[in-house]
């Protein structure tokens, strides 16, 4: 059977999702724990191959197994074999046709900025610290220009494998609560580093270095150098994916 899992992790101590020769990754930890639990070689396929330092509350992966263990029990058994910074939130059986990356979905990310004069040590791992006052209202106006279907080439790092740089952003909300500014973006897909470049650009807007009204021209340029910098990984959290046609959403 094919099993879908929802996986949360603190990305601080990992070299990202995807297995690589040097460094420990989330994918590797899941493969090892599943192989140990199910006593057969298991390889997971993830929805979002998050970079080093990026966190997740709801990344999705699948794997195929011959086990007779009920799919919904696997999450509980697996969590006892995983380190405390990786926690499977849910596991369930899905059709063999389901693929976490190719099945259509709405993806939600949050980028968090700690905007105050001093660092907060208890939130140092999941926020990006920014000292100078940011103008949240300007950031909100800039964000509005990015909503909809656009060519986001200016907001993509090289190195991605996408065939087209056209994507749809359904919503892009900027909100400040206490000292934390949260940028919450929902879309049908994101290019390589796209959310972090949006965050880096909105920070420039909040700092007054880019005007909200300049965003359309930045999109138009279709040139990475037109947008702001890539904001640091640790401020980014993959919130979750909603699959359009899958019953086990």
């Amino acid at each position: 059977m094919r099993v879908k899992m929802v996986v949360a992790y603190d990305g601080t101590n990992y070299c990202g999702w995807q297995i690589q020769p040097n460094g420990v990754t989330i994918e590797q930890k899941l493969n090892e724990a599943l192989t140990d639990l199910l006593q057969e070689p298991i390889k997971v396929t993830g929805a979002s191959r998050t970079d080093a330092g990026v966190h997740s509350l709801g990344n999705v992966c699948i794997f195929d197994t011959n086990t007779r263990m009920p799919a919904e029990k696997i999450s509980y058994a697996l969590n006892t074999r995983l380190p405390e910074d990786i926690v499977v939130q849910d596991s369930c059986q899905v059709p063999e046709s389901f693929h976490p990356r190719f099945s259509k979905s709405r993806k939600t990310y949050e980028y968090r900025i700690l905007n105050q004069k001093f660092r907060n040590p208890t939130r140092r791992l999941d926020t990006h610290f920014y000292y100078y006052d940011l103008d949240v209202e300007a950031m909100q106006r800039a964000a509005a220009y990015l909503v909809g279907e656009h060519d986001f080439k200016s907001f993509a790092s090289t190195g991605g494998q996408a065939e087209t740089s056209i994507r749809t952003i359904y919503s892009l909300d900027v909100e400040k609560r206490d000292s934390i500014i949260t940028i919450r973006v929902k879309g049908n897909g994101f290019l390589y580093n796209m959310v972090r470049i949006i965050a880096g650009t909105l920070i420039k807007v909040g700092a007054g270095e880019i005007l909200p009204e300049e965003i359309p021209a930045i999109l138009e340029a279709k040139d990475r150098s037109a947008a702001g910098p890539t904001a640091p990984a640790k401020g980014l959290t993959m919130i979750g994916l909603e699959y359009e046609e899958n019953p086990a959403n």
Copy 2:
């Protein structure tokens, strides 16, 4: 001059505030960094001697120094000498009569409970995970009985040095946002482990094991065994102190 500092820290990797023979403490790290910075032996005196694993956003300490460095510059210079999980938020000169523990103040603490079916790895260090549904409304009704001046002997661990167990709680709010229940308490002082025992008791109320209406009898008993357990340290954060008569609040 006497300098007052506001200190934030992630308590995870420390054996609490107070210097002790075995293990690294916040007080020790501050003394070392200040002695190095000011080139004279410095000993800080803290307001709240938080236990191992307890966090702070606004603990207060003082020290006396002969330095000619302006008091308000010390925080910036000190932060470059401190590990990233201890951050001084503010430093200023105060009268020699000011004492962080004996000067009258209002102290605020928060206890955070992650109340959902699975652990959240990104909040594993500053929340206490509780699997079963908690009845927040019952917790709020129970909390109301604790507000005011009471003898909190039932809510104190042995080992404290207080002369009386009478304290005043100005407010005790319980609120749920997303999956996190926050117990926020403000008072004129707290007995040893008092906030964690209040949290442990309110969790029992939320779980239906203690009725809100039983709280007056628990207070009346003046017996530690009448209240609920001491909730784990990592859920507790010292939010801050407001001094009644000090100008450099």
